[in-house]
Amino acid sequence: MNTKVIKGRKIVEGIAEGEALVTKEPISFMGSINPKTGYVIERGHEIEGQCLKGKVLVFPRAKGSTGGSYMLYDVVKNGVGPVGIVNVEADSVVVIGAIVADLPMVDKIDIGEIETGDYVVVDGNNGVVKVQKRDNDTMGD
């Protein structure tokens, strides 16, 4: 089982793990996401139509409205939000939402090394992300 360990910067403490949902496009929790369903609703976005529920959300950086803090908090509280966040550069609006939602978060990560479907552990205590590649056929070594 080859697991990559990538060192980054810790943003919000706590450990979270789950399937990665990766996009190269910035996300605005206000406007890109429907907080009631956790689906990506931004027209033409790379992961439009995908659902954040239970996923480790991996994206380069945030964009858009400062409403994003409460909307990240709301989507998590609604039980349809991501379990952890990995960024290249953490934007204060997302950080603030993650703090109040106690959502483990790490940035300064080269997100090119993670693909949708990989199994990812977000270690917010040490600012580390562990990636277990999805396409590894031999399960459960």
Partner: protein
């Protein structure tokens, strides 16, 4: 971070649990971004005031805070989710409105000022050059940092509330000189005249600059306040730009060298302009027209009234503005002219922060790049980014021929 004794007492809970939790958020933010100390602030503009944004989680968060929390410093409120005075007449859903009013009650209990607008600088909240403030609302952040030369980071609802309760913000990001220099230089090769022109430039630059600082040179004509309002909203929609410079116009950019040194500029010409417009272009029957994102100044309301005088609109037409500008528009007879034409002056809210209308609009035209960007996802419709004169024509005809 090095806290003063007072700040330590706040963090220890000696001033109550809300002050403690507020300081905890601010210290966490400061630690993440390497702030060395806290700054005193005397001015907060709070986002997260629309129930559509706050949601139930935010509503409970603010209600909990309002039990004992009182704002230490003036806190003006951003745009909300309803027109606070005629939401019923405008067809806002009752259950949403009641939750919204509940959220407002919590903010008022803490002493917030009910401006309900994304243009605090048009209703008397004007931070001064170099003043540290805690502002939310991405368009207002870009305006206050860039045009007024005040200093704020992008504050979300919780951190704005924390700043209002404590009068403190961590000294990181745009509060520090070294983070206010330009990163991307743009050379504007075409003559920008209208608010839409500046919106298109902003949308183009925001996508490239992301969270960094764009610098614009080559803008011949001195931009009006409305031009800069449109630019500020656009750069903060396609990107997360909190500060931009216009050489020779904004206070921190007397020359290109002073703010970004030597750099090969990214050109913004006719081709780039049309590419952005092409992203938001549509033709045919128009059922929804909106201007006032960010909220209209009196000059914008006047322009629309002049164009609507003696006409009738076929499409629903919202002119979004602050309650204060509407007061002036009432006095000058513009509200009457607009109402007679069948259009609506809508206060306190806008389509992005209001619940999606049940009227099932299909095609929206606007002169705001921010609205053109958000409306498709939030209201499930197509948007066209056109001049204000064309918006009014489209409203009157209920049709837009689609010329760029």
């Amino acid at each position: 971070m090095i806290l003063t004794d007072e700040e330590k007492r706040m963090l220890d809970g000696q001033y109550g649990d809300l002050v403690r939790k507020s300081m905890k958020i601010l210290v966490a933010l400061g630690e993440i971004y390497g702030a060395e100390k806290m700054l005193d602030i005397n001015n907060v503009h709070s986002p997260g005031v629309s129930y559509r944004v706050a949601g139930d989680a935010g509503l409970n968060f603010v209600k909990d805070a309002s039990v004992a929390g009182r704002f230490e410093v003036p806190v003006t409120l951003n745009t909300i989710g309803i027109d606070s005075e005629n939401w019923e007449e405008l067809g806002f859903p009752r259950c949403f409105a009641l939750k919204q009013l509940e959220l407002l009650q919590a903010y008022h209990t803490m002493g917030a000022i009910s401006t309900y607008t994304c243009t605090p600088y048009l209703v008397g909240n004007i931070p001064l050059r170099g003043e540290h403030v805690a502002w939310g609302e991405s368009s207002a952040i870009a305006f206050v940092n860039s045009v007024l030369g005040a200093r704020t980071n992008r504050e979300g609802g919780p951190s704005a509330l924390a700043a209002g309760i404590t009068g403190k913000v961590p000294a990181y990001g745009y509060h520090l000189d070294e983070n206010r220099k330009g990163k991307y230089l743009f050379k504007v090769d075409i003559d920008l005249k209208t608010d839409r022109d500046f919106a298109v430039l902003g949308y183009f630059a925001g996508k490239i600059a992301g969270t960094d600082v764009p610098v614009f040179e080559g803008i011949k004509r001195r931009p009006t306040l409305e031009n800069l309002k449109a630019l500020s909203a656009a750069v903060a929609s396609s990107g997360a730009v909190a500060l931009y410079h216009i050489v020779g116009v904004t206070p921190e950019a007397p020359t290109t060298e002073a703010v970004i040194g030597k750099q090969e500029p990214i050109r913004f010409g006719k081709k780039e302009y049309e590419e952005v417009v092409a992203k938001f272009s549509l033709e045919g029957d128009i059922d929804f027209v909106v201007t006032g994102c960010p909220h209209c100044s009196i000059n914008e309301v006047r322009r629309v009234a002049q164009l609507l005088a003696g006409k009738k609109v076929k499409a629903d037409f919202w002119i979004c503005t602050s309650r204060q500008v509407k007061t002036l528009a009432d006095k000058m007879g513009y509200t009457e002219i607009i109402r007679e034409a069948g259009a609506q002056i809508v206060c306190d809210t806008c389509p992005v922060l209001a619940p999606t209308s049940s009227k099932g609009y299909k095609k929206l035209v606007t002169n705001s790049a921010k609205l053109a960007h958000y409306a498709p996802g939030l209201w499930n419709l197509k948007t066209g980014l056109i001049e204000i004169e064309d918006c009014v024509e489209a409203a009157i005809k209920g049709y837009w021929g689609g010329k760029v």
